[in-house]
Subunit: 325 residues, 2 copies
Amino acid sequence: MHVNEQLLQWFNEHEGQFVSGQQLSQHLGISRTAVWKRIKKLEKQGYQFESAPKLGYRLIRKLLPLQVDWLKLQLQGNPFAREIHWLDRVDSTQTRAHQAYIAGATEGTVILAEQQHAGRGRFGREWHSPAGTGIYMSLILCPRIPLAQATHMTLLISVSLCRAIRKLTGANVTIKWPNDLLIKGYKISGILVDTIAEADQVKTMIAGIGISVNMDLEDFPEPLRAKATSLKIATGHNLSREQLIISFFKQFEELYAIYLTKGFAPIRHLWEALTSTLQSHVVVTTPQGQVAGLAEGITENGALRVRDQQGQVHTLYSGDLAWSP
Amino acid sequence: MHVNEQLLQWFNEHEGQFVSGQQLSQHLGISRTAVWKRIKKLEKQGYQFESAPKLGYRLIRKLLPLQVDWLKLQLQGNPFAREIHWLDRVDSTQTRAHQAYIAGATEGTVILAEQQHAGRGRFGREWHSPAGTGIYMSLILCPRIPLAQATHMTLLISVSLCRAIRKLTGANVTIKWPNDLLIKGYKISGILVDTIAEADQVKTMIAGIGISVNMDLEDFPEPLRAKATSLKIATGHNLSREQLIISFFKQFEELYAIYLTKGFAPIRHLWEALTSTLQSHVVVTTPQGQVAGLAEGITENGALRVRDQQGQVHTLYSGDLAWSP
């Protein structure tokens, strides 16, 4: 057993009690400084300890793993969650889903992890993924859509997730173009859809979804705190991660059916109703340079239309968006 | 050595001479019927034999492999042909390029084969690829373009190839939407671009190009002959495959630079000038059903606009096109 697990087991066996550094040091056969370092490390993973001089440490918050069996039961029949793979700690669910796809996994395969140590957002940016408090999930999808419409998927997922969160929490979650969800201007979720296409048809999409659910502010590393939030911080109470996952899949199944039968127009209307990006002044940094102006709308491909001061309209397919000061 | 190679070596050693079935049978240690079967098989691969009663067989057309060293020399400095891998017989260059990509190959990697035994077109359709007479080639490209514009690449390659062939042969080659080149209504080339995208940016494209160059009509299996052609059949003489490859890469480098600096508009104009699809009555079979009408133009995504009898305009992202009778 790994030292961290031995440490946690010891705390579990002494639930609610203080355990001295001395005891732990003897039990684990490591120095008291090493014990202290381990505790700090566990705290970074989302555990919380109370420490008191002379008394030692007491575990005050234990993280429950996702109740995967219950998830599977509730999602029975949902074509996008046919096969749920739960993992404890991974590099990134997106990497694992890519590997699963190469090994033959098909639509409906879901990779869920408690914790990621190399979670990533767009452009390979790090996505902070502490244990047990967030949702880190990747879906394998095989939509029969043309390559030219592949960009619809990020918007479809954003709308589904935004509706699921609003329904469960009542929080005023909004969509920020192109792929984030915000509460009061802070990011609570990022969506990243990778695409594999054969000729002019999409073959497979791998959709990564990260959601900050039950983190306290202290769960984020210092440099991230100023910009971080979670559903718990925003609403003041814990939210069942399982409920949120179930709710997302229900929304997604429903909206996807609408998309297949009625096209992108109804999804676009929902997106426009849920976004905080439109009718505001923005600066978008694209690979080709910066564009500043009024965000007027999105095209039928999900590109952002920005009208600059000279009245020229720019169609932006990709970029980082900030609001003008 | 494989029996076929022993057979070919024997013919090479007896260049211009007739070799009797009896001699071959003794030399190879197989029956005369087996010799005859081998000869038939080689004929299917593009070799030509003259056979005469009592005299036996004489090899009258030998296929020269691609002069890869010369190709490499001529393409020095071309960023899309930095590393040329020549293979004799493969399943499909496209499959090999995908494997090379997964193993770490980057932009400028080219896979060339003399012969494919599982060449494929769109929707996994077979692409007849006899030895030594065609060009079977896959390119690894890493264009920094948004996913929403991935469809441009097929058109960019079509235009490059069409111009290269016209320049070398003077033949009236035209582009058929979405991905074929035709001479007098017959297909001489197919283009198949696979896409791998991360979030809203294209990461890698693998472009497969098949060209029927020096086939005679007899090189095609009976069922394909009615619809088959080659540059040789169309123009009446052999064409250097190397020259054609070099010319394609030069065109592609030039047009790609224009695309990156000036966008899709100039490429679209070139495409429209070279296509035989526009201003004609077509029937397009799409995954969603058939659309018949006048092909009016292409959109800025390369989708075909077809106006039906009721005046409604359909935007088609994918499909099989046939001309109305």
